[in-house]
């Protein structure tokens, strides 16, 4: 594969990092501050976008920042898969920025500058993860993301938020230090490199038991993907302001986890190695277990954001499951699901936030009849639900379709049933909300007449993402194409 050297990946990472000092200095002028956020978001998106044609041509963009350990550098490599993820997260940042303004000002939150600063840092780290060329760089940005998210989780500063923050750090930082770090060093010791390779760099270097240990360490070590039993930080992190939950805990942070695991499976171990040792199934079962259990738990949650959180846990494991099937279709499904689920779930979170801004309600049992008062929001919610359940005409259908094909291709009937069963469960925990919102009898309605839609800063973004979810059903090409190219690249065409 051709490679060219260009500083663009670094610029893409730095775009949101360099804006932080400006944000800090413009604390007193919120409008200027928000304008800068937009500028940074747009610049970042444009930089990422400008690399798309190159990547689509099958060329990789490489940039070495510094060689920090002899033979091991902080290095970026933009390939199709990384590009897919970077595109999703950087485009959604723009939308979320707009939404944040509506949400934060609507609720008159404190410390808004801090909020926007750390948000920007998070995005830098996310794109950094997407463009990492080796495990060290990935680890660096992964840790950066963990730490930058902490102040956002604890934003409310009350005892509950701080407790959640502690839990968050314990899980995320704890697993990365206790699992990923040793696994990374053991791999380095075995292979002498950490550079992601097409068929992994571990092949032929270690015995099977060691590979199993490493696989377990690396899969569970990236706890951001919330595979059980390392999932409980995610519901706890829902104490954060909703835009944080939306972008970070439905898109950026959690998908960084999923992305990292995909990178591990493809770039560190290599599909062939895992196929030879029949280890894909191991990961499959872990993911399948999480899918089912998380969906079941989601059914029991009354707080909307927590239900969404458990839904996210389940959906993330779809991605892992798809990749761990180790079949081309399954992998395409998994990768596409990153994008499709992102648009669907962010819509749902935006809706939850909009409801909170407009009514202050957080619990599903209090939302009976809300559809009459906030029709736009709830329709968007419906679309988002469809996408997450995986029904046409929404993007989620496409990825789930490929996932199902993947199970057939890999001849994993059990997984097929898991997928289908979980879709039913998804429907079971989403659709009643929509039903009660629209079709309840008037006397059950819990809302005064004065309740209106949330401010436009909130509503416009959520409509936008809902529409995009539908558009992605009809035009899934950009993401599907990137995923297909990535998989072809990985499996050698």
């Amino acid at each position: 594969m051709e490679t060219i050297t260009s500083i663009k990946p670094l610029l893409a990472v730095l775009a949101s990092l360099l804006v932080v000092p400006i944000l800090v200095t413009s604390t007193r002028v919120p409008n200027v501050r928000e304008a800068w956020t937009f500028v940074a978001a747009t610049v970042k998106f444009l930089i990422v976008l400008s690399m798309v044609p190159t990547v689509l041509k099958g060329t990789e963009i490489v940039y070495t920042v510094a060689e920090v350990i002899p033979g091991l550098a902080i290095k970026f490599r933009v390939d199709t898969f990384g590009m897919l993820f970077a595109l999703v997260s950087s485009s959604l940042w723009i939308v979320t920025s707009a939404y944040s303004i509506g949400y934060m000002r609507g609720l008159k939150e404190h410390s808004q500058t801090r909020y926007f600063c750390y948000f920007a840092i998070c995005l830098s780290a996310t794109v950094g993860v997407a463009f990492s060329a080796n495990l060290l760089t990935l680890y660096l940005f992964y840790e950066m993301l963990s730490l930058a998210t902490y102040p956002l989780v604890v934003h409310h500063q009350d005892p509950e938020a701080r407790k959640s923050g502690r839990k968050y750090l314990l899980y995320i930082l704890g697993t990365s230090i206790a699992f990923v770090l040793p696994a990374m060093l053991i791999s380095y010791n075995l292979a002498g490199t950490l550079e992601f390779a097409k068929q992994g760099f571990l092949a032929g270097t270690a015995s099977k038991p060691l590979i199993v240990v490493l696989l377990i360490l690396l899969v569970f070590g990236f706890a951001k993907v919330a595979i059980m039993p390392f999932h409980s930080w995610l519901p706890a992190a829902m104490v954060a302001p909703t835009p944080v939950s939306a972008l970070l805990h439905a898109v950026a942070v959690v998908k960084v986890g999923a992305f990292s695991i995909l990178r591990m499976i493809t770039g560190v171990f290599g599909t062939n190695l895992l196929l030879d040792l029949h280890l894909g199934t191991l990961v499959c079962y872990a993911a399948a277990f999480t899918v089912i259990v998380a969906s079941l738990i989601a059914l029991t949650q009354d707080e909307l954001k927590r239900r969404l959180a458990f839904s996210t846990i389940g959906q993330l494991s779809y991605i892992i499951l798809g990749i761990a099937l180790l079949s081309p279709k399954g992998m395409i499904g998994g990768m596409t699901h990153i994008a499709m689920h992102a648009f669907g779930k962010i819509t749902l979170f935006f809706c939850a936030g909009a409801i909170a801004v407009a009514t202050g309600k957080k619990y599903i049992s209090q939302m009976v009849g809300i559809g009459k008062r906030m029709p736009v929001t709830m329709i968007a919610f419906f679309i988002g639900s469809l996408s997450v359940i995986g029904l046409p005409p929404c993007g989620g259908f496409i990825s789930k379709w490929y996932l199902v094909l993947g199970t057939l291709e890999a001849d994993q009937m059990l997984m097929l049933f898991v997928l289908l069963g979980s879709s039913l469960l998804n429907a079971a925990y989403f659709l009643p909300i929509v039903y009660k919102a629209f079709f309840c009898t008037p006397e059950e309605s819990m809302f005064e007449n004065k309740v209106q839609e949330a401010p436009p800063w909130c509503v416009v973004p959520l409509v936008l993402t809902a529409l995009l979810s539908i558009v992605l059903f009809f035009y899934p090409q950009p993401f599907l194409e990137l995923a297909r190219m990535a998989v072809e690249g990985l499996l050698g065409g």
Binding site: V68, I69, E143, I177, L181
Partner: protein, 498 residues
């Protein structure tokens, strides 16, 4: 002049210490500039010397013009070149940062304080640069005596803590002296290189074994290696800020250097790792040191004391790394000397700034500090990340090598201990960050109840700027790890170690 660097880096601080002592009686304001100039020259010489070593290899400097082993000679190689630079730079930065707090804490004893400070640095630099085992003892005592004095100047319990330190330190130094005596009896020499030449024929001698053990125990006592650490926490906690932020980063590190020097140069790795079958047990001791240091730190509700227990755990890192007996571990230990000196300096300077402004350092005093002292606390965050070992701060990279060494030696418990200590550090420091970031500031001495917005009350510029330099250095050193390892440390370790 560059051929005189080895002499200058010791002589200039020594002479200036004397001048400062006199100046203290004449005009107190002269003391600080002289001290800064002296340490500046020392730092310049150290770095110049390191650069020369990089060019020319080992530099031998004969004091008095006498050929070793008759006279005393310096052998400056990559190892002490590196440690010298770190020691001198840390001492200089801390001196500048501590001026205000020294003025605040000892208004009428500025002269002697600076004298002791500069003498202590002289002693530490001398320990690192010398190639003579007995000369090292004398310098050890200079560093120790001045250290007792500096530490004892602190609050309330400081003299008692310093006295305990003195007992332990004296036992340590005496053990060291005995060890050198044993070596002298069987070899007839005091020059490290000369001893190393004679020793191979004596590897089976019981006297050499006795010398080795007693020497190591002495050095461990001085570096507070668990279970010989009991003197350290109180001594460093109650010390004045300027003293604790000089001594905590440097003394233990210099003693680690001495240990490594004796392993590598005097006894040779062959003897230490292959003939004596003790490496494994020492690494086990290190494991216990790290774990106990971490656990004891968890129990503290007082910033400075907590930091002292972390120092003890870090000593375990380096001792363990050095005794893993492989290249990666040794690299990690040497790299950690550099990194840990900077990290410890960073957090202790922060503690100094806090004490300067708040007169207290219990956890309850730290509430709301991020709002009150944003610059100090930002630097603190960087230091903390380095202590936890988050890339790209330098703490990550030394931990990287240490863990790699543990993997190569297949010493899984040492790896586990390192990870455990990282986790505990994370818990410890985020507990503080949580208090400092999210709890509202409470002023114990506040009068009335008017709720005005809290004014930002940052430490003076002369304290913040060096602190930021240190914090920046943490990241820069981290990024340049590769250069440090390939250009310096690689040559500091004999080729025999794989």
């Amino acid at each position: 002049m560059s051929e005189q660097y080895p002499a200058l880096l010791v002589v200039v601080p020594l002479l200036s210490a004397l001048v400062i002592c006199v100046a203290g009686w004449v005009n107190k304001r002269l003391c600080f500039p002289i001290a800064v100039a002296a340490l500046g020259v020392a730092a310049y010489s150290c770095i110049g010397l390191l650069l020369r070593v990089l060019d020319e290899g080992v530099i031998v400097y004969k004091l008095g013009g006498w050929d070793p082993p008759m006279g005393i000679a310096y052998y400056v190689d990559h190892l002490n070149g590196l440690v010298l630079s770190v020691v001198s730079v840390v001492a200089l930065l801390n001196l500048i940062a501590s001026k205000k707090s020294i003025d605040q804490e000892f208004p009428d004893k500025i002269g002697p304080f600076y004298t002791l400070y500069v003498l202590m640095v002289t002693g530490l630099l001398g320990i690192v640069v010398t190639g003579d085992a007995f000369n090292l003892y004398v310098l050890l005592e200079i560093a120790a005596l001045t250290g007792y004095g500096l530490l004892a100047m602190g609050e309330d319990r400081a003299p008692l803590a310093a006295l305990n330190y003195l007992y332990m330190g004296t036992i340590g130094a005496c053990f060291y002296l005995l060890g050198v005596g044993y070596l002298y009896i069987v070899t007839g020499s005091l020059n490290m290189v000369d001893i190393a030449k004679i020793l191979p024929s004596l590897y089976q001698s019981k006297a050499v074994l006795g010398a080795f053990i007693i020497l190591m125990v002495g050095v461990w006592l001085k570096m507070a290696f668990f279970p010989l650490h009991a003197w350290l926490p109180n001594a460093y906690t109650y010390a004045p800020s300027a003293a604790s932020s000089l001594i905590a980063p440097l003394v233990t590190k210099v003693m680690i250097y001495v240990m490594i020097r004796f392993i590598l140069t005097v006894f040779t790795p062959e003897f230490a790792f292959n003939i004596l079958a003790v490496s494994d047990s020492i690494v086990w001791l290190a494991v216990i040191a790290i774990v106990m240091g971490a656990i004891l730190a968890l129990a503290e509700r007082n910033l400075k004391k907590m930091l002292t227990y972390i120092v003890i755990a870090e000593v375990g890192y380096m001792v363990g790394g050095a005794w893993l007996g492989n290249r990666a571990g040794m690299t990690g230990a040497i790299l950690h000397i550099v990194n840990d000196a900077l990290m410890t300096l960073c957090v202790f300077l922060v503690a100094g700034n806090i004490v300067y402004k708040l007169k207290g350092y219990a956890f309850d005093d730290l509430k709301g500090l991020y709002r009150k002292m944003p610059f100090t606390m930002t630097a603190f965050t960087v230091g903390v990340l380095s202590m936890i070992g988050v890339p790209p701060t330098c703490g990550f990279f030394s931990k990287w090598y240490l863990i790699l060494g543990a993997i190569r030696a297949e010493h899984w418990f040492f790896m586990g201990a390192l990870l455990f200590s990282s986790l505990v550090n994370a818990v410890l420091f985020f507990r503080i960050i949580e208090i400092a970031f999210f709890e509202p500031f409470t002023d114990h001495h506040a009068h009335g109840h008017d709720h005005q917005p809290e004014p930002i009350d940052e430490a003076p510029l002369s304290m913040v700027v060096p602190l930021w330099i240190v914090a920046a250095a943490l990241v820069i050193v981290g990024i340049y790890t590769s250069d440090i390892v390939t250009k310096i440390i690689q040559f500091a370790i004999p080729e025999g170690i794989l």
